[in-house]
């Protein structure tokens, strides 16, 4: 048997439709918007600014703080109650860690850069959409960056390695099960800065999935670059 055809008819290595924009939030020092399928993320950057209380500050370099938040109506089921929860805290942390390697905040000692990520709708892959939007927002804010962060989930549904799982695919019931692997990839250096997984997976399938992620990241990279150029070429 096996998973012969994807639920929404996509090719196994095909992402859902992607759109990206920058400069969508005028109050912010930089902002980005990223949509993949029905997962949409806004990101706004505020800073660098002084960090209080001062014991949190780093005298050698600026601190990056990310805040991932689902809008109350953005879940597939019941309303998501506002306020922090363990999931949002963890995603915020891994998001900051995914973005840090491409940033050089040594020019901003004792400062903080806040990145706020808000999701109006989610259909799996929301942390990845958030990271893509945040990467655009940081670039829009004018930070020196070694690369862009291109984030996409890969995984395995039954016997097939797939790119960009949606919610229905994550919930698909099959013999070999489903594995979901959110990745953040720097396309220039071909390095991975976010790697999580849940499900059951062989090491061979993980490698295959990461390689598929690299190719998808290249596509995201082109869309991100086009979004940045569209703003600054227009000026």
């Amino acid at each position: 048997m096996g998973y012969d055809k994807r639920l929404d008819g996509r090719k196994f290595d095909e992402t859902r439709p992607i759109e990206a924009k920058v400069g969508v939030i005028k109050n912010a020092d930089g902002s980005g918007w990223f949509r993949i399928g029905k997962s949409t993320a806004y990101a706004a950057v505020y800073g660098p600014k002084n960090l209080y209380p001062k014991f949190l500050a780093n005298p050698k370099r600026g601190v990056l703080r990310c805040h991932y938040n689902m809008m109350p109506f953005s879940g597939m089921g019941n309303r998501v109650r506002p306020g922090t929860n363990r999931r949002a805290k963890e995603i915020s942390m891994v998001t900051a860690n995914a973005l840090l390697p491409i940033l050089d905040l040594s020019d901003f000692p004792n400062s903080v850069v806040d990145v706020y990520i808000e999701l109006p709708e989610t259909d799996a892959g929301s942390r990845c959409a958030g990271i893509c939007a945040a990467s655009l927002a940081l670039a829009d804010a004018g930070f020196l960056m070694k690369d862009l962060a291109c984030s996409v989930a890969v995984g395995k549904v039954d016997d097939k390695v797939v790119v960009d799982l949606d919610y229905a695919e994550e919930a698909y019931e099959c013999d070999a099960g489903v594995a979901d692997i959110p990745l953040c990839i720097f396309p220039q250096s071909k390095k991975i800065s976010l790697l999580q997984m849940d499900g059951i997976l062989s090491p061979e399938s993980l490698k295959e999935a990461m390689e598929a992620g690299m190719i998808a990241a290249e596509k995201i990279y082109d869309i991100q670059k086009a979004a940045l150029k569209a703003k600054y070429e227009g000026d």
Partner: protein, 254 residues
């Protein structure tokens, strides 16, 4: 400093962005279906201010004093994404006031016929939850939020019920029973001038503020005075009439 500047401009019959005192910013637009996970949603733009509202329908138990009526909840999340002065954390008094004023306009106008939201009397009723989230706060969240809330309510389609539980994946064709569409106009008194659709800077510089919510029949359905200075009867009367006239203009976009 800023406050003085806003006042000096008012004395010279002008504003920071050169608008007339009774003029709303442009563009004004409403985009609906902006969130596929919400049961209804809208994104309102007034000038540089953008506010999103989303509706989630839930099933709950009715209040004991209204066993055959659905319930309504309006919440405002002042997202730190939308303005540098908003911090993460529990709702500020500003967020609570905004939510309560928008709530009163919708509730007191009997905008939604809650009797039609009863599933099983005394046991199960629909709850309409509207969450209002500013994307960019450049001023006047009261009016933009009220407009977004009504647009999202208007855009709502009830999800299907399967075996007594909501099946969010399947929406019906049935909308919310909408009897009235309350909208608000907020008038600020800056010096001796009355100003509509304030910018953020103007919101930090006023003596008094009056939010006037009205129905499509120009009936008042909610009022909220803010600011430190009191108002005379004549001033209130003038502000209400100005608000009604301006709300008519806003209504065209709904």
């Amino acid at each position: 400093m800023n406050k003085d500047y806003v006042h000096k401009l008012a004395e010279k019959d002008t504003r920071i962005d050169g608008r007339k005192f009774d003029e709303y910013r442009q563009p004004i637009s409403i985009e609906t279906d902006v969130s596929s996970t919400a049961d209804g949603s809208a994104l309102v733009t007034i000038g540089d201010t953008q506010v999103m509202a989303g509706v989630k329908m839930e099933l709950g138990t009715p209040y004991s004093d209204a066993p055959d009526q659905g319930t309504l909840m309006i919440n405002v999340e002042l997202l730190p994404l939308s303005h540098p002065r908003f911090d993460p954390g529990p709702p500020s008094i500003q967020a609570i006031e905004l939510a309560r004023v928008i709530d009163r306009g919708i509730r007191e106008s009997h905008s939604i016929d809650t009797h039609k939201l009863c599933v099983t009397p005394g046991e199960k009723v629909w709850t309409v939850i509207v969450d209002i989230c500013p994307i960019n706060d450049a001023g006047n969240l009261f009016d933009a939020g009220a407009l977004a809330a009504i647009a999202a309510i208007k855009n709502t389609k009830l999800p299907a019920i399967k075996d007594g539980i909501i099946d969010y994946k399947n929406k019906t064709d049935e909308g919310l029973p909408l009897a009235h569409t309350p909208l608000s106009c907020t008038v600020l008194k800056i010096g001796n001038k009355l100003v509509v659709d304030p910018l953020s800077e103007e919101e930090e510089s006023y003596e008094s503020r009056l939010t006037v919510a009205t129905t499509e029949k120009d009936e008042l359905c909610a009022l909220q005075k803010g600011g430190e200075e009191p108002l005379t009867i004549d001033e209130v009367d003038t502000m209400v009439k100005l608000a009604i006239a301006k709300t008519k203009e806003l209504r065209k976009f709904l």
